[in-house]
Symmetry: D2
Subunit: 84 residues, 4 copies
Amino acid sequence: MSEVIAADQLRLLIERIERLSEERQGIADDIKDVYAEAKSVGFDVKTIRKIVARRKVEAHHAKEADTLFATYAAALGMQLAFDI
Amino acid sequence: MSEVIAADQLRLLIERIERLSEERQGIADDIKDVYAEAKSVGFDVKTIRKIVARRKVEAHHAKEADTLFATYAAALGMQLAFDI
Amino acid sequence: MSEVIAADQLRLLIERIERLSEERQGIADDIKDVYAEAKSVGFDVKTIRKIVARRKVEAHHAKEADTLFATYAAALGMQLAFDI
Amino acid sequence: MSEVIAADQLRLLIERIERLSEERQGIADDIKDVYAEAKSVGFDVKTIRKIVARRKVEAHHAKEADTLFATYAAALGMQLAFDI
């Protein structure tokens, strides 16, 4: 081996990464369960995802983005379900 | 080697994949250039991406999705820049 | 609104998703910190990622995959740093 | 509209993006076909993808990466199908 490495140190780092990755996967599965629960009581998952994404954006930024989107869409003659 | 394989056949397949991948990368770069051009004349790239994505969706499907989104948002008391 | 929805139920579902997503992001940041720590003491992050990925694969499956890879590489005359 | 925009210019840009995106999708489909062809004559698609990825890497870089990987694996007592 051209390179002698601190095997124990490497092992500890990797085991920490693996434990945290497992924890993260567990939470990802929990999130999937909540979406499945939402679907089972009649909600639309795709729309919930859009709402969750939207709630991360500052209200005034979201409003600006909507307005610009509607401006471009109107310039292209696109029919939207809403009016600004 | 436990497995004798048709080396020439494998080479031809891989070279075809590589040629096509190169072609695809070239077009991806062309798309990037168009977005850069749009930005340089003052358009908002993020909004153009939303418009491009929107134009792939059937108008009535898009309208249904907008309506459902607005319904959920209203139920949660979220302020949107538009009214259905 | 064409569709009356259970606003409270929707809110609870979304708030659960948001809490879990925050938790997941916290763990993702912790993982990033461990990789940064590994890098700071001289380990190669890219190689650690390969090792973490490899440790998820059953040893005999990994061995089969390596052998097949080496077989294809040899058929194409590719120089590898290892011999099967 | 708070913002008057060059509708024709926007339309041309978007139509160029759409044409290029369609071309790119066509090539992506062609690549998928080649992989399907490779599979149909008995090759392992996953291994071919690794070979294609490997052939993009400079030989000496690839060798260094393999050596480092084997060094870390040996330090952790992992059984590999190959020896450096």
